[in-house]
């Protein structure tokens, strides 16, 4: 299984931080996610973890999928 996307379906960019309020990725990181290698995805998740710490957020939760 490849590296799971950190998307938690909030999908709203913060004007203040320039990051998605749900997954704390930049718009470029979201746009190129599916073209990224697993190593690049893990690097993005590491940066996301650092950003969450700086923003005073807890560890990211991974949600199970629905079935729309």
């Amino acid at each position: 299984m490849s590296v799971p996307s950190p998307c938690i379906n909030i999908c709203r960019m913060s004007a203040e931080t320039g990051l998605c309020e749900g997954c704390q990725r930049t718009i470029d990181e979201i746009a190129r996610w599916s073209r990224s290698t697993d190593a690049e995805k893990r690097a993005i998740l590491d940066i996301v973890a650092q950003r969450r710490e700086q923003l005073g957020l807890g560890a990211a939760t991974v949600t199970a999928g629905a079935a729309s």
């Binding site: 299984m1 490849s2 996307s5 998307c7 938690i8 379906n9 999908c11 709203r12 960019m13 998605c20 718009i27 470029d28 979201i30 746009a31 996610w33 599916s34 073209r35 990224s36 290698t37 697993d38 995805k41 939760t61 949600t63 199970a64 999928g65 629905a66 079935a67 729309s68």
Partner: protein, 306 residues
Amino acid sequence: MSAALRFPPELQVFERGWLSANNILLFDGDEATLIDSGYVSHAPQTLALLRTSLDGRRLARLINTHSHSDHIGGNAAVQREFGCTIEVPAGIADAVANWDEAALLLSTAAQSGERFAADGTLAAGDAFVAGGLRWQAIAVPGHDMDALAYYNAERRLLISGDALWRDGFGILFADVLGTGDGLGAARRTLEAIGRLAVDAVIPGHGAPFADFDDALERAFARLRAFEDDGARMARNAIRACITFHLLDARRIVLDELPRHLAETPLYREANARFLGLAPDALAVWLVGELERAGVAHREGRELVAA
């Protein structure tokens, strides 16, 4: 599958979550085609993804795989922003033109959408060129009886919408609602796409994947389980749809859940046709399921999305 699937640079996939379907952007010189536009409340992020990827190129056309809110929700906003044309599967043209919120499953499943007008339609057998590739429209009824998938024979790529995911397929609404034979249609759809030569699938939800045969096997297994046990299909539909609602609303007042389940046609029909539970009992079961799956937790008198 450890390496990312390598698509031509003219084909970009925005992998979204569950509330928004994936968006596929295909470039032909200075022009681009988008397939599916996500959920209405995510439209600003969809526009931002498009602006950054278009990088000055023109979005000429938006094409949908089917009519559900997580695929068409951004249509109006995308057209406003970029002035593109919109083409929808022929089978949903009337529902879109009349903005029939029941046929579009908006009111049926308590979901939101923004009205748009289609400029054209695509029918099974039609073909278009996008990303330098010729895509043929294939009828994939089941989850949506009018859905289309788009297939490129040269690169053996399948844009499957919600007819086939890596692990399953979308809710078979027709069976749950009692409006048609979604199970039979889904079986014929899986058999038909199973005859295609496919190296990579770009599904409506989840990461693009290469293990087509395994995905088909899982989809057939799920279909058999639903054919054998309608109650299981109904429970699955109720759980999936309320999860979707929770991702949209973020929180639900627990005391109001039984009324929501009784008043929203999808839950009411699924329950009446397959389960026969009192709304209170259905709510108790559902909350337990959502907590166990980790998609929601209780906060006081509310159920909150994880």
